[in-house]
Amino acid sequence: MSVLLAKTLRSATFKLALVSIGLFGAVMVALFGYVYWSATTLVLSQTDSTIEAELASLRNTYDSAGRDGLVRAIEQRVTETRIASGLYQLADASFVPIAGNLKKLPAGTNGTQGWTEFRADALNPTAPGEQSLFRARWETLPGGFHLLVGRAIGDVDRFTNEMYAALAFAIGFIFVLAAVASVSVTRRTVGRIDSINTTSRAIMDSGLGKRIPLRGTQDEWDHLAQNLNSMLERIEGLMGEVKEVSDNVAHDLRTPLTRMRGRLEKASIGQRNPEHDQALIGDTIADLDDVLRIFSSLTRISQIETADRSAAFRAVDLVEIAEAVVELFDAVAEAKDVRLKVAGDRTVAITGDRDLLFDAIANLVDNAIKHGREAGQVTVEVTLNDSCAVIAISDDGPGIPAGEHQHVFRRFYRLERSRCTPGNGLGLSLVAAVASLHKARITLVDNAPGLKVELLLPLVEDSLDGNSTL
């Protein structure tokens, strides 16, 4: 529990929550301050104008009716405003009260001119000895009389107090609420991150089989978990492929190496025979060449896959390449009585690597002849449509079962029935690598009968887009 608490307090989310609470609190205090300031200012300015109007009216009375008139007016107002909150007081030159409802002149205000605020007995006390806050203004009349007119501003005072109380309560409440919310949000976040961390550690410890649990909430955490899971899926797939490849490399290299070793060992203990030795050396060199060829095919494929060669792309004509491939394979096709021909458009220009495209098409044609029908038909069709250039190599042989389609591009993958034909199962991997370099798609279609392999290469505009990102 304390570990979780410590983790919660340390977490970035919690710190972020604290910062937001602080900011929110500051905004709230500022808002309260503004409301307080504008409300009190309004109330006080209204009070001030009332006081000034009363002063002016009383001064007029004094001017017209003299001291006695003023005393009468004050007494009238005091009785009239008994229930109201008006404060009136007339004093002589030495501040001795003459008339008014202020029982005692406020201490320290004697002689002050202008505005003053003070506490005095309330005008309409609800309890004995109740005090009230007043705002008032002294005016000295001709003849040395001092006139004080004021209003109780206890309402403003009460409003201020209530404001403080509300602010204190709101701040307290918000802090409690925010603390609860941020801790619970942080806990939730820490919990989700913890489950991801636990899974990653489990993967590091025991292998790629584990997956991050989903909560089914479809929130960003679930999306993150889904993405991480599919990444793991892909890594697991690739690892499996790598393992399969290295197993196959081991198998395909060990077999001829074992054969060579055995042959040499047998020869070393046997009798020397020049003719026999010569044959043995020749066979061994041929076997070694096979091994080296597998090796260089593998490095070539991985080089195509890893190095970005698109910078070396040139304008090439697919039809010209297809024709050159067909010409190269002409003799092979003839030997198998296969009719090999190019069909489709007259010229199809794209940007690409001629050597690699040639190699890819050559591999596909080689496959079509090798795995097609004896005395069959192999066609290389190059066409151009709106979005891409299409090279389709089709044969009328037995084809590839639909279930095997996805496997044939894996390194060393060979169909069961073609195990005995020459080849190393790397051709289509190379085609796939070349295709992906050219951002092309490969599809296998049932040619009924036979197989049709289509390479769909995006047109120049697309590849230019690709280049501009370099």
Partner: protein, 230 residues
Amino acid sequence: MTGAHRRILVIEDDAETAEQIVDFLTTRGYLADLAANGNDGLLLGRSAVYAVMTIDRMLPGMDGIKIIRRLREEGIVTPALIISALGEVDDRVRGLRAGGDDYLIKPFAFSELLARVEALARRSATVVKETVLRVDDLELDLISRTASRGGREIKLLPREFQVLEYLVRNEGHVVPRTMLLEQVWDLHFDPSTNIIDVYVGRVRRKVDGEQTYPLIHTVRGVGFCVRAPR
């Protein structure tokens, strides 16, 4: 051939490989000088008495490509054969751009090394503009692009004629498959199938079929050779 045209500079840091190359070239009548590192290679290369030099890509002290570039800058045009264990795809282009004349990837067959060295050595000798090539009773008319043997015309496709022409031009020398692919098809990779053999096989049937002796010979594991019987 003059002495210089039998003299080869071998720049190779692996002692055993270097010894094998030198031995092999020596048995074929060449005079081979060995430089075991980049600086020695540069020093020897400057003397410019060589018909051909073979240069390893990765050398202690200096990259093989750098040596070629330095020599070219100094005006030395000795044909250079780059030998490299690096990948074929990009390095080939880089090596040739730096002034290399040909490229060979490790591991290689010695016969292929020899074929390439000989091709480069011949290139530095003068080339006579011929219009007719002859080997024994085989005749190639380079103007009309026709071939005949013993006076009887051989029907060849244009590409087949090119193959035969390249083999005949290198009469008596082994032409590796890869060189044929480069020179006739302009392909710089090994298609790892037997298409070339089948292709040359068809040319051979047309040239040597129904003849008392063959002119086109297959050299196992390497390539082909056109040779008149002795």
